[in-house]
Symmetry: C2
Amino acid sequence: MTEAILETLDDAAADIRINRLSYTLLGALLREPTSGYEVVKALEKFRPVNISQVYPLLSEMEEKGLLSSEEIEQDGKPNKKIYRATPLARAVVRHWIDGPTQEAVIRDDFTAKVYSFWLAETRAKRALIAERIDWLDCEISFFAERLTELHLEHGEAALDPGQWPFSRDILIRRRLALYHEERLWCHRVLEQLNRNEDGGKTT
Amino acid sequence: MTEAILETLDDAAADIRINRLSYTLLGALLREPTSGYEVVKALEKFRPVNISQVYPLLSEMEEKGLLSSEEIEQDGKPNKKIYRATPLARAVVRHWIDGPTQEAVIRDDFTAKVYSFWLAETRAKRALIAERIDWLDCEISFFAERLTELHLEHGEAALDPGQWPFSRDILIRRRLALYHEERLWCHRVLEQLNRNEDGGKTT
DNA sequence: GAATCCATGTAATTGGTTACATGATTCA
DNA sequence: TGAATCATGTAACCAATTACATGGATTC
């Protein structure tokens, strides 16, 4: 626990390169050690994750000394492998947070469709926006539930920036705020479409 | 121009599979025929695009009959290849808009960092959010400019859902609304961090 | 003299998705 | 009887990024 040891840990952390998803996996395992399967189940509530991509990444990170694993035997269920994040993993994540933040990669079918949407029929335009509103409503009620759930389970911890429920709290609130705003935008667009009934070519 | 011809065009369109970026490229070329290089320059204002990915996609779409090309000789500059979207391309895009909308793929370094941000130092948390605010301010002023530019150049057309400036107008407004909302969220988070000074472990 | 713009492309590599394989248990 | 859940993994494929190659014109 001397300065020197902490310094070499930080130096080692600086040399380790892993991909975007790996950082998220480490983040999840720093909250609680679990199996690959369970990490994915937990993350999937918030974003889609491919389980087939996760297994090799976990093995890779174990080789690099970021994770340690332990095989757990279960009856009635297949065995599972519990991964635990090492102190090096914590250093790697901190180092990554301090470093430069890459721009987000967004591949969005919806906005791509709106981009070319001027050449569709009015019916198709309305349908696209209406569908989006439905989707947003679903998402909003889903995340509103997750938020009350979080506060029931963790209460005060969600207000403490040093505990993980804080991170979850602010991320859910961010989503809800953005979804609400997009919902307003959708309604404004629908109004514009109604004001301008001839706005779609009928062939 | 008989019913039958339109129907076979639509049938042909239903069988053609191209990837996400290809639809966006078609959308751009349906606004105006240009070269691969210029399409990318135009799209890049709104999202990052890899030119190396575009050239093969354009050739592929030409083979499929979605584009026709014409070599233009220039002096003092390399020759360029102007691509023009065919009626089939228009049918394909319309068909795609009518079809199911896939969920967006988002790989976002910033939210991934916030997810693990509870285990960083208070200083690092503030820095991350402050940087985000700076970035948002940049984006907001950039897109506000694009919006006034659009209205200066196309005026009334931006209000007509049957013309492409309408699509651009609503997409820029969507961005601006979402960026503003995220900016508010950032400030709320900063307030929470200030209220709770001890919220970061100092190692 | 070095960097950037114009303009096209190929090759190599990494990242991500889909399909496949295994096998017991539980639920409709 | 068939599907879904738990649980791990490999193989094949597609998508995306980075690097490389070319070469004149212009700008710093």
